[in-house]
Subunit: 191 residues, 2 copies
């Protein structure tokens, strides 16, 4: 098995919006495959999002518990949110952390880019680490019903292991930060 090198590119021949909902946009593209055959690709258009590991001076991370209707369950997640049109990812991360948890952070680092749903969505998630937290008073968006709490990072990682945290973006954020803390990965440069 050789390392990857083959040209797998699919050319887009045409693109159609098949559904435009309140939240979701479904696009269907006609494509030419690498071998010349034609096919269609159906997927969700997404504006992109951010996810924030906000770590306080005691090594606890800020978590949220909120109802996720598609799953019919309350999920425990890191603060996250969609990027507004024209908004920089870091500005979005500051805004979402403030709006959802009431925290401001003096230090920000971009840790990673993630693609949560490569098969049927173009969503790109930017993962940030926020430190130097100050509580300024929560201002949850109208209609957002969530509980905010702090949990030691080590305990949050145990919650991942035990299956109490299953939201993929939050699992990645917590495991990534834990690797940084253990020195398994060199610290990324200050952003």
């Amino acid at each position: 098995m050789a390392k990857p090198e083959r040209d797998l590119t699919e050319k887009t021949l045409a693109s159609h919006i098949r559904f435009q909902g309140r939240l979701l946009v479904v696009t269907e593209d006609e494509v030419e495959l690498a071998d010349g055959r034609r096919s269609t690709r159906e997927y969700i258009r997404h504006p992109g999002a951010v996810v924030v590991v906000a770590e306080d001076d005691d090594g606890a991370v800020i978590l949220e518990r909120q109802w996720r209707h598609p799953l019919g369950a309350a999920m425990i997640e890191l603060p996250a949110g969609k990027i507004d049109s024209g908004e920089e990812p870091l500005a979005c991360a500051r805004r979402e952390l403030q709006e959802e948890t009431g925290y401001a952070a003096s230090q920000w680092r971009e840790l990673a880019t993630l693609h949560p749903c490569v098969g049927y969505s173009d969503e790109r998630l930017i993962l940030f680490l926020a430190q130097g937290l100050t509580q300024t008073g929560a201002r949850p968006d109208d209609g957002e019903h969530l509980e905010v709490f702090a949990l030691p990072l080590t305990e949050a990682v145990t919650w991942v292991e035990e299956g109490r945290i299953t939201d993929a973006k939050s699992v990645v954020g917590l495991l990534w930060t834990d690797r940084l803390r253990r020195g398994d990965w060199p610290a990324v440069p200050e952003g």
Copy 2:
């Protein structure tokens, strides 16, 4: 900040299919929020999927490189695939590993459940670890264009760190398996 305890349940009052494509089904539900107000929730219905960390006797993991049209890029991923109607997740994992990579595995463990897109999809992903690999000859699905290769787990984790692997399910699978290997988490019972 107390640990989570509040009732955040949303009651479904009605459910409508708003779009039925070749691949995607968009549902819109009318819900009653925990405070009694009403709202709508729009999301994708998904049959569920599996993702497989297939580790050979030398500590290398089997990776795939395939074109992901929504992102306009070739992505490096763990073997994965959708669960067929009525199929058990483990049977799906065996089938997808065989179909996509040509490998059979004699040992299987279920590692975790993940939810990749809690905001707009009901997708549930089951993560498996497969060992005792035997190459039986790849039988890729018609129309699947992918490259299969093996990479030492430690190198795959470096690819995550460097941002060469950004697919969230693959990032979780690799970091999870690396924690098991390091003994950071106790080995899960044999499945």
